[in-house]
């Protein structure tokens, strides 16, 4: 019954309803990327690549039951990922990928704040600071290294303006990881054999990121419906307020009436 009253209020204001419909169509078209004309596909989304590597001991972990260094291999893989964030390593990756070092940002695994710390006065501070650190990175190309904390496997995710550049960046990162595991001798010269083996797990997968200006019909329809609903609600509320305002000051109807 209330719904009929509400519908009746809207029905009696057809002009406002028509304005709402027009507005909803326009906003829906904009949200869908159809307006202004030619905006769809105007911006390119860029490319992403994902690779996984296993950080192995000099004698492969699966080749023998007692390879040297297996007890600390996970910690070393985590530290290796950290090492990639240093300025010299970032520069090396950029050089290998053929891009200026200033255009590249490497983020490692931000140490996840202890869950229990939500109970201490710092509250959300560590989590927020960690998130802020990630958003503070504004470079056209980025590498994120995510080591698995249980097994010596590391994921490498890259972002670049093109898919090809993203793949090249992933390859450059893997190459830099390999070179970073070569131990340095006391005289500063690199030894011949690496301390750790970096083995890619499968091929590098890549994908194009959808451009922000591409057509999203569902989004457009949802935006149009939401706006129309909000508009009609506004009309009903405004009509109600206007009615109340007119009633203010009128003598109250008698009890009999």
């Amino acid at each position: 019954m209330e719904l009929l009253s509400i519908a009746d209020v809207v029905r009696r204001r057809r002009i406002l309803l028509a304005v709402g419909v027009v507005l909803a169509v326009v906003v829906g078209a904009m949200a869908a990327g159809l307006l202004p004309p030619g905006s769809a596909g105007a911006a390119s989304g860029g490319g992403q690549a994902l690779a996984q590597v296993v950080v192995d001991t000099r004698v492969p972990l699966l080749a023998t039951t007692a390879p040297g260094g297996d007890a600390t291999i996970v910690q070393r893989s985590v530290l290796l990922a950290d090492l990639m964030q240093t300025t010299p390593m970032t520069a090396t990756i950029a050089q290998r990928a053929g891009i200026p070092a200033a255009d590249l940002g490497v983020v490692g695994p931000v140490l996840p704040p202890e869950v229990q710390f939500s109970l201490v006065p710092d509250g959300q501070f560590p989590q927020l600071a960690a998130a802020a650190a990630l958003t503070a990175l504004h470079t056209p190309e980025a590498v994120q290294l995510v080591p698995n904390l249980n097994v010596p496997v590391m994921a490498i995710a890259t972002n670049a303006p093109t898919v090809r550049a993203a793949v090249a960046l992933a390859q450059a990162t893997i190459a830099t990881l390999k070179s970073a595991t070569v131990p340095t001798s006391t005289d500063g010269k690199a030894a011949s054999k690496p301390a750790l083996n970096i083995e890619p797990l499968g091929n590098i997968s890549s994908a194009a990121v959808p451009a922000s200006g591409s057509v999203h019909l569902t989004r457009g329809v949802a935006a149009a419906l939401a706006l129309l609903a909000a508009w009609c609600s506004g009309v009903v509320i405004a009509a109600g307020l206007a009615r109340r305002w007119r009633q203010v000051g009128r003598p109250a109807p008698s009890a009999a009436g």
């Binding site: 950290d82 560590p126 650190a133």
Partner: protein, 739 residues
């Protein structure tokens, strides 16, 4: 001219609105003054051997553990005054403006990581520093994360970048003092530059909007209250004048400002109408009923849409309730015969007053909460409280007085189903509510019931449709009085048996949670009933034995288990000890803002398991008083109809008052407001009470039951009511309206 302006109702209304707007704007502008921005930065530091690298040259387990332990030590060292002072010096800060904390926790019990009195006192002092560092060493890998907080991103980054050089300085100086080669020390190096940004970029707008809304609302309430007071005085003066002129005046000639057919507690306004729920096309009562089904049978707080991919947690109630509230607002605006009718009672004052005060605590503490990054949490909790209040308002304005008995019976029916499910969970370790939610709500993330798990005291986690056993106890406690009052008032055997069975099921479900509160809550309800219905309860004493037998049969072992927990020899358990420890540990937080508290919903230092302490810390003495006043307002409003013995209003009063007292008792045993089932249900009962005691004008147009109409809770429905003529004003016989 002035008096003419003030005599115009529209002018007064416009003036009031303008005044509220002005005051709220001034308050909002004043509250966002100053630098509210808090920035944060993060930097990673690794610890390595002096010459060789762990990554490149390898390390055995022992060496790695040693290096990790040394990292923990360095992390602790960084928060000591010598290193902290050096960090301040490196960053060009006054040492007093910087606080450094090292925090890492491993598997230790809650009593140990929850800060005690002294630690918490120091934490509070440290929280006031404008520059802060939080150091978190990794317990497994030789590295530590540095988080900094400062007024600007540049300052936060600079502070993070200053930490490692300061530590290196200190270690170098230490080596020289100990006559050791600094090159033989562990290498501490920062991995890449620190990165930082503003952490609360929207704080200014949030505080401004919150302040405006709260102050505008309070101002409006004050003006409305003043206007009503003034109107009351004027009316009283007019009556006195009239009485003086017309003496002797006919008694009770003018029932002022009240529906003409309603008595003090609405006697004579109980005539059921043709379109009463459930025989109605009005959508709002149906929506309320549907939401009540959700409240009683759906574990909605464990059901979420979209998982973690959405920026806000879309719990099930947050999807359903907004639809009801939007329809309610639109129906209110559209007007018409079926439109909701607003009422105002002292229960409204208690509920809305508490919510307004909760908002005010956030407004008053906005700067402190922004600097500690707790404002968002408070606003989220305030939104949840707003949801409870809106549901209360929807109930009080959309339900008719004549619908109150039907809704009470409906609630009892839902409670009995919930109780049956809980008993089944106790006996068969199968939670039907969670299972059905899994099956019926595809696309939602539904939590899992831990029906077969036990807590550290060996008690089963029987939750029913709730998220915690104590929450379930609260639900059954609030429904119990409906069954008991029905049992008392039943005149015939069939309803008497039905209500008795319902009471037994509710009791059995409460104790099957295996919590001590499962006995305390119902006991509080029974004692309240014993106070208001002494003779009737005495008559029921023999039935208590039957009830106990039923409970023992329905939930074997539960009653014995709970009673054995209450023996003095069994009270020295961790759940009791932890609570006792907390009473001492929260003192610094209580004293921090004793009058108005730290802000509603922000306390997260410890789980207190005591709503009174939560209210005291978050709302101060005023907040605690406002919380208790919610319950007292329910009891106060219920007292009238209970004394008046007007049957339906009396029943609504007894049910709401008993539920309120039971909840008040349970508030001492768990954080009641943190679990949404309880507040929603209590506010719905309080809403029904408000409807029962205060008629909307339209409700008051009807009186007296038509022939053959169902008039008691305990009587089965006979016939759909026929519409009554509006002019029929004969009051119903008392006996015919009793439950």
């Amino acid at each position: 001219m002035k008096s003419q302006l003030l005599n115009s109702a529209r002018a007064r209304c416009a003036l009031g609105l303008a005044l509220c707007f002005l005051v709220a704007t001034v308050a909002a502008v004043a509250n966002v003054r100053g630098n509210l921005a808090v920035s944060g930065a993060s930097a990673l530091v690794t610890v390595d051997f002096p010459r060789a690298s762990v990554v490149q040259n390898g390390a055995n387990q022992e060496q790695m553990q040693s290096l990790t332990a040394r990292t923990l030590l360095l992390g602790e060292l960084m928060s000591t005054p010598p290193v902290a002072d050096r960090i301040a010096q490196h960053d060009g800060l006054a040492p007093a403006s910087l606080s450094v904390t090292t925090s890492y926790i491993q598997n230790i019990p809650e009593q140990m990581f929850g800060p005690d009195l002294e630690v918490r006192g120091i934490q509070i002092i440290k929280l006031r520093a404008p520059y802060q560092i939080d150091i978190q060493p990794d317990p497994n890998v030789p590295r530590l994360q540095i988080y900094t907080r400062a007024p600007s991103p540049v300052a936060a980054v600079a502070l993070a970048d200053a930490a490692v050089p300061a530590l290196q300085d200190y270690l170098g100086a230490l080596a020289i003092t100990a006559k050791r080669d600094p090159a033989s020390q562990v290498r501490v190096s920062q991995v890449g530059p620190a990165l930082g940004a503003v952490l609360n970029s929207h704080a200014k707008y949030e505080i401004g909007a919150l302040t405006f809304a709260i102050v505008f609302g309070l101002c409006g309430a004050l003006l409305l209250g003043a206007a009503r007071l003034r109107a009351g005085w004027r009316m009283a003066a007019r009556d006195r004048r009239r009485a003086a002129v017309d003496r002797p005046a006919p008694p009770a000639a003018e029932p002022r400002r009240r529906a003409p057919t309603a008595g003090r507690h609405g006697s004579g306004a109980w005539r059921p109408q043709a379109d009463d729920w459930p025989h109605t096309t009005r959508v709002l009562p149906w929506m309320i009923a549907a939401f009540m089904v959700v409240l009683w049978l759906v574990p909605f707080d464990s059901i979420q849409l979209g998982g973690a991919s959405l920026p806000v947690q879309l719990k099930f109630d947050r999807i359903v309730l907004p639809v009801i509230v939007v329809v309610w607002i639109l129906a209110l605006a559209a007007g018409g015969r079926a439109a909701p009718r607003l009422r105002f009672t002292w229960v409204h004052a208690g509920v809305v007053g508490f919510a307004a005060l909760a908002g005010l605590t956030l407004v008053v503490n906005a700067h402190y909460l922004t600097s500690t990054l707790q404002l968002d949490r408070g606003v989220k909790q305030l939104t949840l409280l707003g949801a409870y209040v809106f549901f209360f308002l929807v109930v009080t304005s959309s339900v008719r007085r004549s619908e109150v008995p039907v809704f009470l019976r409906f609630i009892l029916g839902l409670a009995v189903i919930a109780a049956l499910g809980t008993i089944i969970e106790y006996r068969f370790q199968y939670n039907i509510f969670y299972d059905l939610a899994h099956r019926l709500l595809p696309g939602f993330q539904v939590g899992t019931a831990a029906s077969s798990s036990v807590d550290n005291l060996g008690r089963r986690l029987v939750e029913g449709p709730a998220e915690h056993p104590l929450e379930a106890v609260g639900m059954f406690t609030m429904a119990l009085p409906i069954a008991l009052v029905g049992l008392i008032d039943a005149r015939r055997w069939r309803p008497r048996i039905g209500y008795g069975l319902a009471a037994a099921l509710l009791l059995a479900a409460a104790v099957s949670t295996e919590r001590k509160s499962g006995l305390l809550g119902p006991l509080a309800v029974v004692l309240t009933l014993a106070v208001v219905k002494r003779r009737e309860m005495v008559r029921l004493l023999p039935l208590a034995v039957v009830l106990v037998v039923f409970v023992k049969v329905l939930a074997p072992g539960a009653l014995t288990g709970v009673t054995s927990q209450l023996r003095p020899s069994n009270l020295a358990v961790s759940t009791v000890d932890e609570r006792v420890v907390r009473y001492d540990a929260v003192r610094p937080d209580v004293w921090l803002h004793l009058a108005i508290g730290q802000g509603y919903g922000i306390y997260s230092v410890r789980v207190l398991d005591n709503e009174f302490l939560d209210r005291l810390i978050e709302g101060g003495v005023i907040g605690l008083s406002a919380y208790v006043l919610i319950f007292l307002s329910v009891v106060f409003v219920a007292a009238g109809p209970i004394r008046g013995r007007e049957p339906v209003a009396a029943t609504a009063g007894i049910v709401a008052a008993s539920g309120a007292v039971g909840t008040l008792v349970l508030s001492a045993t768990f954080d009641w407001l943190a679990f949404p089932h309880g507040p929603y249900i209590l506010f719905s009962l309080a809403g029904l009470l408000a409807v029962a005691v205060k008629p909307a004008r339209r409700d008051g147009q009807h009186a007296g039951p038509p022939a053959g109409q169902r008039t008691r809770l305990s009587e089965p429905p006979r016939k759909r009511p026929a519409p009554a003529p509006r002019t029929q004003l004969e009051p119903a016989p008392e006996e015919a309206w009793s439950f």
